[in-house]
């Protein structure tokens, strides 16, 4: 089985091992950690504003007495979910658009690639920044859709060019001569053959999406209160980071660790899935 070989190669890679263990620990912290902490993320401690980390509030408290341990973990959950969802949607979209454009060719190809060019030219930061805060009452899922909508274009071009060469393979031609509908050929024969590219892309997209979310939230254009994410926490913490470093250090550190571990896994996956590649 190929997947077994790939997994074995992945675990033999030292970088990837570090990445996987760090990511598992971080996810455990995000989802199990809140049950261990003494406070809920919505609790306010009116006796402790901006207090330093201690035995009661492990990571200190914020301006209105929130327990930073609970709030930060809650924010990390949101960041992880956003990262995963955006990566899934973006890579899926890239696979579909790229393979349809490459397989159908002609005007379908032209129209789709024109759309890709247009989205690449539009400054994504601007569009998301204008729309996202105005989705009043809309949930953060809209933000996920927006972020995903602007992060699939380059991969779709790669997928398209790979589809162009796959289109002429014997098994694809055979399927076409047997009269199988073209959309079925794409999903059964083309996309599975691009899986290594797509898996690597999806992994790296997770870390890109987490950074993107944090960057937009840093200016208040991303996740809107009362929701919290690592980005909103870093934005709040950085405002008075010199006086109250615990507000900044924990979310920022977790963000870096999260991105670093995902990047390590992505790099290891690339080596495992595509041993010949050198990039």
């Amino acid at each position: 089985m190929r997947s077994k070989v790939v997994l074995r190669r992945l675990f033999r890679n030292k970088q990837a091992r570090y990445g996987i263990s760090a990511l598992v620990l971080l996810i455990l912290l995000a989802y199990v950690g809140p049950f261990i902490g003494p406070y809920d993320w919505t609790d306010k401690d009116f006796l402790a504003f901006m207090s330093a980390p201690g035995s009661d509030h492990w990571w200190g408290t914020g301006a209105i007495g929130q327990d930073m341990y609970a709030v930060t973990l809650r924010g990390m959950q949101k960041s992880i979910v956003i990262g995963l969802l955006v990566a899934l949607i973006a890579t899926g979209l890239a696979a579909i658009v790229g393979s349809f454009a490459g397989y159908f060719g002609g005007w379908v190809d032209k129209v789709l690639m024109w759309g890709v060019d247009l989205l690449l030219v539009l400054p994504s930061f601007l569009i998301i920044a204008i729309i996202s805060p105005r989705l009043k009452g809309g949930s953060w899922l809209w933000f996920v859709v927006l972020l995903a909508a602007f992060s699939w274009m380059i991969t779709s071009r790669v997928v398209r060019s790979m589809t162009l060469s796959l289109r002429e393979r014997e098994y694809v031609l055979a399927a076409a001569y047997m009269g199988i509908p073209r959309w079925k050929i794409i999903f059964r024969h083309i996309v599975p053959n691009l899986s290594s590219l797509l898996i690597i892309d999806a992994t790296l997209n997770v870390s890109l999406a987490i950074i993107g979310e944090a960057a937009l939230s840093f200016f208040g254009f991303g996740v809107q209160p009362p929701d919290v994410s690592l980005g909103t926490l870093i934005a709040e913490g950085s405002r008075n980071a010199t006086g109250y470093p615990w507000l900044f250090v924990f979310p920022a550190g977790l963000l870096v660790l999260l991105v670093l571990s995902i990047n390590l896994i992505g790099d290891g996956l690339r080596d495992a899935l595509d041993p010949g590649s050198n990039s």
Binding site: L126, I130, S238
Partner: protein
Amino acid sequence: MGKYLLRRLAINVILVAVAASLAYMLAATTMSPRAAYQGRQPPIAESVIDATLDAYNLNDKTPVLQRYGTWAKGVLTGDFGRTWNGGSVNQEMGRRIFVSLRLLLIGTILGFVVGVALGAVSAVKQYKLSDRLIGVSSFVIMALPVFLLATLLAMATYSLNDGLGFTLIEYTGEYNPKLSGFDQFLNRLNHLILPTISLSLGSIAFYSRIQRNMMLDVLGQDFVRTAMAKGLRRRTALTKHALRTALIPSATYFAFAFGTMFTGAIFTEKIFAWHGMGAWLVDSINANDVNSVAAVTLFTAICVLFAAFLSDLLVAALDPRVRVS
């Protein structure tokens, strides 16, 4: 070649026009510059607000298409309209482009040169201590988003200055307007230190990884061995033959970065309080400044397409295998 260029130019012009129009429509329908006038004390009469907004082509009571027509007509004659408080968008843009340029020029070049050098060294000394050190640090730096890095640098400098009791390194603004002559020049350089570090570190990490991979590819190839076999010193063979060929991918990225330099750096500019194009984007969104948003989009689209064109040209010039058909 000429036909190819013309076709490409035509497509790009259409792309820019569509992108800018979409941005204008989006901004004009969702943003309300009226809000900036309504909440004032003492209150301004409705008719006065209308008249002011009409004069700036920002009145939301005028149909969007009509406003778009006025705007588009202006843009075609090179007039980007008025900001929300009546300033000229053209003037603002002219000023800010050069602020961004002054900020990014050094950082972009420094990032490329240092990154390529580190990547090449890393490849030549593969698996040695220096290679591992460069590899690990570039990995860590790439996991550090630029807004985090910039904030950390600003914080560290603040504490350093605080500890020293005087301002050793400036961390906000572009220069001190009170100084003049050579002092002002030094002051400008001082203000450049932190933003340049925060801009170039990321690109150093990025270029060093690309350059290392490319260099490793090239090092194993025949022409490098031949160069050494014909009696060139190792150093000459590496720099003249290997590095030059391995430079192509980094150079194309550099061409792209160079072309998009005028569009500014959103995070670095905001955090270190430089009033360039990147900061303008954030400020104009916050100020509901429709015409500025559209102008920034138009300008960015032109820069991106020009930069892509520049990097394509460079590939064609450097790589004998690529020929434009």
